[in-house]
Symmetry: C2
Subunit: 336 residues, 2 copies
DNA sequence: GTAAATTCCGTAAACGTTTTCGTCGATTTT
DNA sequence: AAAATCGACGAAAACGTTTACGGAATTTAC
């Protein structure tokens, strides 16, 4: 009735349990004939190794902790899908936690995962304060950050070049003839968002147009937030011909607000996002945006983490991938 | 440098490590003064219990395995968010795996999680064949199925009443004056879909209208599938005034196909979905649909699972929640 | 005042593996 | 033929906890 263990197999096979362990681990210190016999008996008895016991002695669990702000955010869930599949291919399983956009909770689940003895942690931080908040902890377990970047940051991270991406976006709108571009949704306390806004500001300066930024204090980048910001903005007359959003989800909220106001996109207003979540491709949305290569980010993050697990003393590394423009139908060209 | 363990604390405190264990576990077999002293020393030394070692001796990991077809499906990711948060509240962590709509992979990750010694598994099955495929495995670890249901199924599951939901949907369309309603996307090899189609057929019979079902052999319920099915259907002239989709994601694909064809929703065609994913609420989509109470499903599934973990010998239980109509603006009333 | 009960704590076994070390027989070397 | 080498396997320690058991010290009961 009970689960069959190494000892049980050993008893049946008439060998020591060291031998059974060797037979299954592919050790060279065992004769080919006994290996075959033991393996056969293992299969007959339905033996499956106990990962917990193995973790105990090997001092590694082959579990990677993943902390996301919220798994139901489309960007997060797409990333997670790629992460899980690639992790499994590399022999790891994923333990997933939501930080729910809360710094304290983020720290709490980080500690929790450490107590679980995960081999490493991949973290999509709540914001720039996450670094300070987690400083003592990240020193104790291999950690890779996704998304937030800052060149002088003493952590491992992968990210797209946010500044460059937003610069491309701004220049694209400019090339369509837009001279008054509103930047919507710059989240406070977020390096990612700071860098994106920098890209916009850089481009404005270079192109000689006046920047205009609406900031956002809500830690989420959700439809609701985009909707609320746009709605407030639409209350009074405005002169912008285009809105550049800090994230696709925000842009989708803007579409909602515009819709209610009778503002048609792209006829009356051009709109761009950032991230390229899968929904943005749908015709009713059809959002021109900047793509984050999610699979590449996932693979890079895991490769980096696994590397660090293998040599924890290595110095911090950073990988910055290139974002690319995805042109759909939410922007139109206007005359100068 | 190394991690601080029970023994270390015991040595510093000048007690046996049994005492340390008792101090932390809230055992009554310890004096209040020593408890306080030991707890203080634990904090000072930054001791955190090793969950792996504890799992080893306690024979439980406090980990729940979650198998979803694909975490980036909006319905799944919303469910997962609820599951993770509630599980953590109950003292469990979630180990998440994608089955990628593949029966073999589903079985493979199930075994994997068993080897991980998870305390229980929550499974959103690939399809009706999952039951047979996993029969030998589900007997070995507490398992709760979400979504697929069938009254005579010897498994634990939670689900909405799919038949009733689709019946409501059909009757709603009828009440708006629709007499020719196409059912789109009945997935083969899926009990859920079979039950939904049943609801539609029941209603048609009761209302005296002619049913018309387009089936779908693809195991996914994605935008693409809905798009492809609708596109094919729109190729030739059709007389239906409404389309009832087996899932919101499919309906969103239909919107795409309709858009391309110049068919306007709801003016030219009424459209309904099932699931009520968060995107369906967005004005550009604004889909009338049938709600699945995702948080309630998550809570019910976990309660059921935890119950079963505590008494594994209990007989199978089923929970069927009620779906409810969510009326938005993708359907219009027509004259008889 | 002693016997019994109670309180508090230490000893040691157990959980299921991996791996080091040692042993024994067989094979090769001199 | 004796010595050295080698291959295959067993014995046992180790990983960090929890907990049953037992013992000493203290309290309670007569």
């Amino acid at each position: 009735m009970g689960v069959v263990t190494l000892k049980d197999v050993a008893k049946v096979a008439g060998v020591s349990y060291a031998t059974v362990s060797r037979a299954l681990s592919g050790s060279p210190e065992i004769g080919e004939s006994t290996r075959k016999r033991v393996v056969r008996i293992c299969e007959e008895m339905g033996y499956t190794p106990n990962s917990v016991a193995r973790s105990m002695v090997m001092k590694r669990t082959n579990i990677i902790g993943l902390i996301v702000t919220s798994i139901d955010n489309p960007f997060m869930s797409e990333m997670t899908a790629h992460l899980e599949i690639y992790a499994r291919k590399c022999g790891y399983n994923l333990m997933v936690c939501n930080s729910s956009y809360d710094l304290n909770l983020e720290k709490e689940v980080f500690s929790l995962l450490m107590g679980r003895k995960v081999d490493g942690i991949i973290l999509i931080p709540v914001g720039n304060e996450s670094y300070d908040s987690l400083k003592n902890l990240t020193a104790q377990v291999p950690t890779v950050f996704i998304g937030e970047n800052m060149l002088d940051l003493p952590e491992n991270y992968v990210s797209v070049d946010n500044t460059n991406g937003m610069q491309q976006a701004t220049e694209y709108l400019y090339s369509l003839g837009h001279r008054s571009i509103l930047y919507l949704g710059a989240r406070e306390k977020s390096m990612t968002h700071q860098l994106r806004v920098d890209g916009y500001l850089n481009a404005c300066k270079k192109l000689g147009i006046e920047p205009n930024v609406i900031r956002n204090s809500d830690p989420r980048s959700s439809f609701r937030v985009g909707y609320a910001l746009a709605k407030a903005h639409f209350e009074t007359p405005f002169s912008e011909t285009a809105i550049l959003c800090a994230a696709d989800t925000l842009a989708i909220g803007v579409i909602q607000a515009a819709y209610e106001k009778g503002i048609r996109i792209p006829r009356d207003l051009s709109l761009m996002g950032f991230d390229n979540i899968s929904f943005s491709a749908l015709p009713p949305i059809d959002l021109t945006t900047v793509n984050q290569p999610k699979q590449e980010l996932a693979v890079a993050a895991l490769d980096m983490l696994i590397n660090r697990i293998k040599k924890p003393e290595a110095s911090h590394t950073k990988t910055i991938l290139s974002p690319s423009l995805v042109i759909r139908n939410s922007c139109r060209a206007i005359g100068d």
